[in-house]
Amino acid sequence: MKEKEKESVIKIADLSFAYPSRDAVFRKFNFNFFKGERIGLVGSNGSGKTTLFHLIMGLLNPSEGKIEIFGKERKIENDFVEVRERIGLVFQDPDDQLFSPTVAEDIAFGPLNLRKNHQETKKILKKTLEILGLSGFEDRITYNLSYGEKRLVSLATVWAMQPEILLLDEPTIWLDEETIERIVQILNSYSHLSYIIISHDKKFLKETTNCIYLMDNGKINRT
């Protein structure tokens, strides 16, 4: 293995986390994610898969432990600003993700936050829509989209930020086979992309990931 590939981009050490008045989700949890990896994350409901994503993005704060991302320790809100610009999280529920009136504006939101200028943003917008097969959707109203379309647009909003790592939370649930196939193709045609996918869809994971981790009882193990 080359030296560069060994370098872990997400390094979680001895992390503990609990939601208020509930048993700990993580106790002394350890996890390393390396650049170029494409992993699937499985585990029973409530095993902490989504929580892990939220901890990585700094939406939740661990009670103890260390989170190191891109070689820097991330502790406070400001540390995560850079993380969020380089790691893209697609939420499970597209209604949590979409908030602008039109598809174009929602997709442009991320790139504009990254201070891309208008020409660039429009170029990114057009390309993203093309890649995801959503051309012509620019002026569609986000809340009038079908569920499947909303999910694709959610992916587009994060895709447009050109993240180095994607975190996908159940990207296939309630999607038809054709749409799932499209997502598989998109993911496989970007071989430089690293990602973690939470899914219960074994076929999908087999087609898109190299290895699968099982989360159980606050621990994570390669299967």
Binding site: V81, R84, L89, D96, L112, N113, R115, K122, M161
Partner: protein
């Protein structure tokens, strides 16, 4: 979904730069609110009615909005004439109606209706996003702009949560009746609606953070400020200044 009913259209006001509209609306509201001269106020009302006419909005919807405002004002009419100290012009049983009270209630009625009408014509004819964008361009404080946007956005969220819950109730055969079951169901509905909207709003905010939101809105479409719009703005402002100068 709460629709921005008035923002769709292609009248003169729909096309006018929202920055001009915001400034004019603000200026108009302040002037009308502080003036007590009848001549100025009737000029103001004329301006407001004229603006609505130019914006070519549906009368029925305008009236229904005015009804909401005036239902509040109605209570002022119930209170003010009887409680405001001043010259007694009529005695109703043990209650005295004062001339100043009536005058005061009348002024409030004219003022609020003028401001609401002008607001509808000038502000409702832009989409919320454009208004937020315009406020940013006018160097309005970021916090206030966000507050404005999120108020809108989360009213929307609460509304859609309500529809969702209401559907869930309906499909299981719920009918509102005068009984404890109905009250309890509605109490649950309201409680759940607030809790769920709160959660959802937090998740949406998180999603925004994940996409690099740092407290500033950048919009996709820029305004182009035309000379004619500047002139329109100046003309409207001059008219309003003219109102103050009236005898």
């Amino acid at each position: 979904m709460i629709k921005e009913k008035f923002s769709e259209g292609d009248s003169f006001f729909h096309k006018l730069d929202p920055r001009v509209k915001i400034i004019v609306a603000l200026f108009f509201s302040v002037i009308v609110a502080v003036t007590d001269k009848y001549t100025s106020l009737s000029g103001g009302l004329l301006f407001a009615v004229g603006a609505v006419a130019v914006a070519r909005l549906r009368t029925k919807e305008i009236v229904s909005r005015l009804l909401v405002v005036n239902s509040f004002i109605f209570f002022l009419w119930l209170m003010l004439p009887f409680t405001f100290p001043g010259k007694n012009i009529y005695t109703l049983g043990s209650l005295n109606i004062s001339q100043e009270g009536i005058k005061y209630a009348f002024l409030i009625t004219i003022k609020s209706n003028s401001i609401i009408l002008a607001g509808i014509a000038l502000l409702s004819t832009s989409s919320i996003f454009n208004l937020v964008h315009a406020l940013r361009h006018l160097h309005f404080p970021d916090k206030l702009t966000q507050l404005f946007f999120f108020t809108y956005r989360y009213t929307q969220t609460i509304h859609s949560e309500y529809i969702r819950l209401n559907n869930a109730i309906k499909i299981r055969g719920f009918k509102a009746r005068t009984n404890f079951h109905t009250y309890r169901t509605y109490a649950y509905l309201v409680g759940m609606m607030l809790v769920r909207s709160y959660d959802r709003s937090k998740r949406v905010y998180n999603a925004m953070l994940c996409r690099g939101f740092k407290g500033k809105f950048w919009t996709l479409n820029h305004f182009v400020f035309k000379k004619s719009e500047l002139i329109t703005g100046i003309m409207m402002i001059s008219y309003i200044i003219g109102l103050v100068l009236l005898p």
